[in-house]
Each structure stands twice: as structure tokens, then as C-alpha cells.
Symmetry: none
Subunit: 234 residues, 2 copies
Amino acid sequence: MKLPKYRLISNEIKKKISASLWKAGSQIPSETELANHFSASRMTARKAVDELVNSGVLERVASVGTFVKEPAAQSSLLEIRNIADEIRSRGHVHKMTVLSKLMLIPNDAIAFTLSLNSRTVYKIIIVHWENDQPIQLEERYVNAERVPLFLQQDFSKITASEYLNSIAPVTEAEITVEAVMPTKILKHNLQVDDGVPCLKVTRITHSHGQPICYAVLYHPANRFKLTSHLNIVN
Amino acid sequence: MKLPKYRLISNEIKKKISASLWKAGSQIPSETELANHFSASRMTARKAVDELVNSGVLERVASVGTFVKEPAAQSSLLEIRNIADEIRSRGHVHKMTVLSKLMLIPNDAIAFTLSLNSRTVYKIIIVHWENDQPIQLEERYVNAERVPLFLQQDFSKITASEYLNSIAPVTEAEITVEAVMPTKILKHNLQVDDGVPCLKVTRITHSHGQPICYAVLYHPANRFKLTSHLNIVN
DNA sequence: ACAGCATACCGGTATATACAACATCGGTAT
DNA sequence: ATACCGATGTTGTATATACCGGTATGCTGT
């Protein structure tokens, strides 16, 4: 599997950027300089840059130069947000409360979704707090065969999704978003007022084809929005 | 505003395709033939094809030829859903009602979001129906400079997003999802019962860095879910 | 009839070259 | 000091050319 020259060049550029030798916002060498450095023609160097511009890593300014794009765009391709990171990145305090944690026999729907053979599944219910206000209630069913030690984790130190991702990194996900009125229990746990709806996010995650987790996340509508930035490549 | 030659070529190709002269799955002329036909070099013709390959309109097969891509596969990775297609793919009847259609002076927020210099923006409010039930109310602000003929379109034949995408294909999008209780007007237009929340999807779309459209979509929660399948590459 | 081969064709890569359009910077004349 | 001009550097576009490696096709010899 031989890579074409322009791809070797674009890989080198990517390396420089991910090693922070070329930092966000800074100007990279001109196409002519790149061509000389890699002993290629300008058109080939340009093609390498083309690739990175299309994938959102670089940005061209006509007549001026080519620049490393600010990191906002770089992670752009659809990430699964970690609620704890998000809260902390807003400079707020994140806390978790485990409401329940048990092993049970899955009903048919759960067993089917997680393709379970065994008769056990882990279920955990957690409330996430942002500055002493509940912001998310998650109800999570985890593939016990694939992540056997799940229940033994200390979820005051690591979030469920962090742990799952370390054991079985998410490679595919199916996400459904709905608006619902909270049940009584939900209203109580999320401390929502009368008449305030909730966002319900259902997330089925897979790792290399294997289903790992079925999670339902509830967020009070008056304190939570779901946003994502997409770059359409194809 | 003079278009480069390769873009003229790619536009001609797009025309042929959208006029169904070149049908899905069929082979288009070779790069050499295109070059001759447009009196351009092969490299220029190739660049035109490159664009359409990157935007998912065409598909190359090495040593064989270039083909018009089948419309279905084009959007598998994070697509901006077209409500009309979706409804039809469920085998249901789709209908649109234009509630209002006007040109107005944007407020500061809209002008900022769309980076408008001029003092006009197009606004249109449309209700989408699925089998005689309203399923989406869209309130859409369109960049009048970039899409000057927007208001003159016949939106009983083509959806707003279809038309916009044909003029300025979406390359970036910022999407926010919220749960809200409907206003009185919203309740009336979407025919939702008391106590039923709505999904509110706010969508800002860009085409090659230029903001094109600011859209707010409301869906009755009891008749609508938003789902997406993600492949995590990194 | 069939296997194997030669050939034409096609996209993929790579180079060298040229000019255009625009920005930036420095120097010069007013 | 300011306005103008020009040199220079950079990306953007366009062309001509060459070769590679693959596919498809048709021909040829058996």
C-alpha cells in the first residue's frame, strides 16, 4: 500500500500541527516553500494542502497565506460530548449522584438492542449536577459481557461514558432526540418546574460493531440545549 | 463576479444531472472528453469533476470512469435531513403551506448571524404536512445577497432547503436542539394538544464559509423524533 | 469454444510553467 | 505627514505533458 506523494506531504503537515509545532492560527510555509522542502512541484504541495483545507485543518487566505485553523473546527466531525467536560469547560462545578446501580435480566427490547445472549445487563441511574443544579439524569444499560467490571467503578471519580470509552471506544452511535414532559420522578430528580418540558436523548453506542450501551438522558429544557457543529464533507 | 472555468464546467455537469440528461448510475464522459468539449485541459476538467466528487454528486472508479452517484447513498454520514424526502420515504404524503413570505430589514441578531451587509433579508414561514397532519413549522431567514431569487421559487414544487442546497450547498452547519412549550400561534399551526412540548431545532447553515440561512424548525413532540447515525472516525 | 494476450482507454499522480488577482510592505514624491 | 506607486510574495487558475496501474475489450492462436 503505497501512498502518493501528496499524501505523504499532507501527513507531515498534520504531524506538525498535532505536535503543536505549527500552532492554531499561525501561518504555515507557502506552497512554494512546501514544494521545495519536500522536493515536489508546487501543484503537488498544493494538492496536499487542498486535502487539509477540505478536511478543515487548514484555511487559505488568497494572496496572503495558509493558516492552521482554530481548534474549534478540528474536532468538528461529530463528537460524543462528555457532560462533565462540558460543564467544567464552562468553568462550573460538576458533580454526580448515583441513584441506583444494579444487575438485572433485560427485557426483550434491551436484549435485542444490545444483542445480548446472556440474561444479565447492568443498569445504572445517575444525576449530573452543574453548580448544584441537576442538569442531566441518565439511565444507562450496559453490555455486561463486554464491560464486566462496569458496576465496580467509582463513579464519583470517572463518568460512566469516560469509563466505557476507555474499555470500548465508541465507533458508532445512534442518537435520537425527543421533547417530552417529565414524569413525576423525573421532575423531582431534575428539579424542574411545572410545565417545563425535557429533552430526551436516547443514545445507542457501538464499539467496532458490538453494541455497548443503551443510554437515555433527560435534560431540563430551561437549562439545557444540545448543539453541534457539523462539517459536511461528502 | 467572474466564475473560474472549472466552475463553469462543474455547473454544466450539475445542470445535466439535475435535468436528468445524465441519470443516476450512468457514466459521464471521460475527463479527456470533457476537456475537449469545453475546450479546456484535462486538468481543468478534472478539477471540475473533483468538486462534484467531493460534494457527493459524482463517483470515480479508477480505470473505468466517472458516474453519477445514486441519490440515496449521498447523505449517509451526518446529513441535513430533508423533511420532504423523509416523509415520502415513509410512504406518506408530503405537503407544504407557505404562511408568509416577505423581504424585511433584519434585526441585529439576524444580521450578525448571517453576516449581512445589506439591509434586507428574506423571511419565509412554512408548514410541512405529513398525511394531513402538520409535522414541522419552519421559520427561515435567508441571505438575500447570496440567494437573490429565493422568494420567487415555487415552494409547492421544491422545498426551501432543496432550493438553497442547489444554489449554495451546505458545507457547514450549526444545530441547536431544545425542548420548548409551544406558543399559542405555534400550537394552532402545528395542531398540538395542551401540555405537549415541541422540539425546536435551530439551524445555521453555511456554504463555503458564507452564512446562507438561519432556520428555526418546530416539531410536535408526540409526532416527531430526531435521529441520527454517527460514525466516529477519530 | 476458449484461454491467453495485446491494446486502447480511463482515472491517479506528478511536474514544469505561466499568468492573474490581490495583499503587504517599503520607498518616493507631494 | 500623507498619498501614491511599485516591487514582491502568495494563492488561484489554467495548460501541456508524461507516466503508472488498472479495466475492458477484442483479437488471435490453439
